[in-house]
Symmetry: C2
């Protein structure tokens, strides 16, 4: 299969360089350092050249967000590779710990992806949300492990419709990935538990990343582990 023209390849190379440089600037100096001129300078081109690749600075930033999500997803997959597939508890723990570890090591990227106020109501943030990706991965493990779920009447009524869509979406995603989950294994209540799982995890990690403890905490890891132990116990995954 042809690799495209030499020009296509050169374009892809340049695009990759642009993204790599943008990321480096984000990581080292935060979002305000991701300027078109800084990127261009590093690549030995001028800023207007970047408009050949992206419609705007904001467009580039959006792609950066997607890159961060994809890389994080890849990292979590790697974390999972080291754990026996049948050990559901260990897998869930690995994913959650991986997420936290990554977040603490990448505060600028975390902020970019996970803590930006929505500004375009027409664009459905949930469609690209990492929570969705996370639950695509962790949800599979959670569902396979068999969860302790609350009675379905405990699910807020206004949530049922949303959960139904999410659940079938999740089943489709899993089916597309060659994962077969029995219908009974992923009911509404299970989807609800997954949602709450994510809320708890995200909240704990965000608070740590943004230093929002009400007092100086020497070592936050035990707090996280305690929360995690609670979580897995509540969903019935603990020993």
């Amino acid at each position: 299969m042809t690799q495209g023209t030499r020009r296509d390849r050169a374009r892809a190379d340049t695009d990759r360089d642009i993204r790599r440089q943008a990321r480096a600037l984000l990581i080292s100096d935060g979002p305000q350092a991701v300027t078109l001129r800084a990127i261009a300078r590093e690549l030995g081109i001028t800023a207007p050249a970047l408009y050949r690749y992206y419609a705007s600075r904001e467009d580039l930033i959006e792609h950066l967000r997607a890159d961060v999500c994809a890389d994080l997803g890849g990292d979590l997959d790697q974390d999972l590779a080291d754990v026996a597939e049948s050990d559901h508890l260990a897998q869930v723990l690995a994913v959650c710990r991986g997420f936290r570890r990554w977040a603490l090591a990448h505060p600028q990227e975390f902020t970019l992806v996970f803590a930006t106020p929505p500004h375009d109501p027409r664009k459905d943030p949930a469609r690209d949300s990492f929570g969705r990706i996370f639950l695509g991965v962790a949800g599979r493990i959670l569902a396979a492990g068999g969860l302790v779920t609350p009675p379905e009447q405990d699910i807020p009524a206004t949530l049922v419709k949303d959960l139904t869509v999410f659940r079938s979406d999740l089943l489709d995603t899993m089916a597309a990935a060659g994962v077969s989950i029995a219908d009974s294994r992923l009911g509404l209540a299970t989807a609800y538990v997954m949602l709450r799982f994510w809320v708890r995890l995200y909240g704990q990690v965000a608070l740590e990343v943004f230093g929002q403890f009400p007092f100086p905490v020497t070592d936050a890891e035990p707090i996280f582990e305690s929360m995690l132990a609670d979580l897995v116990r509540e969903v019935g995954l603990s020993d």
Copy 2:
């Protein structure tokens, strides 16, 4: 008592105007819109004039943060004023709901105060954290209500020292506010419960503000209320 010179009063007026304008820009168009020139333009002065009041744009932003915290604290106090002081459950619910309501109504301000990666390790973020302020208020209610606390051996060992400092700090704050809490009412375990309370609340609210649900949620309030019900039940404050 003298009000100071006319110049002092003019300075205070101008400062107030600067802050008001900066806030308005933040709210309407986000942090990148808070430029010295935009503020100056609105006040009919030039940008360099602002350096008579603030050392830098960043200095102004820091003051803006403090303003937001103070205003939020005032809002929560108002929420509390409508609730009988003896109804501890209602007071806690009011404060938590007030916090969420405010956060959802003020996403840019929330982001500025609650979701900025720390960048100055020498400056102790926890000293100015709103979590601290929040627990100064809510902690009083929680302690007065008498909490169900875990056994002290459940407190992570590495946290004990931090909690001890926090607890005595909290007692001092309350004493200074004329609130007397018996020593036994605010032990280490209680302080730990308060910490976990804040983590849960913050996490839920942040996730909502940043639209980090894994799927579109039509109405997030029931999720919040469900979490809140869990929280107050866990601390022994429910009916």
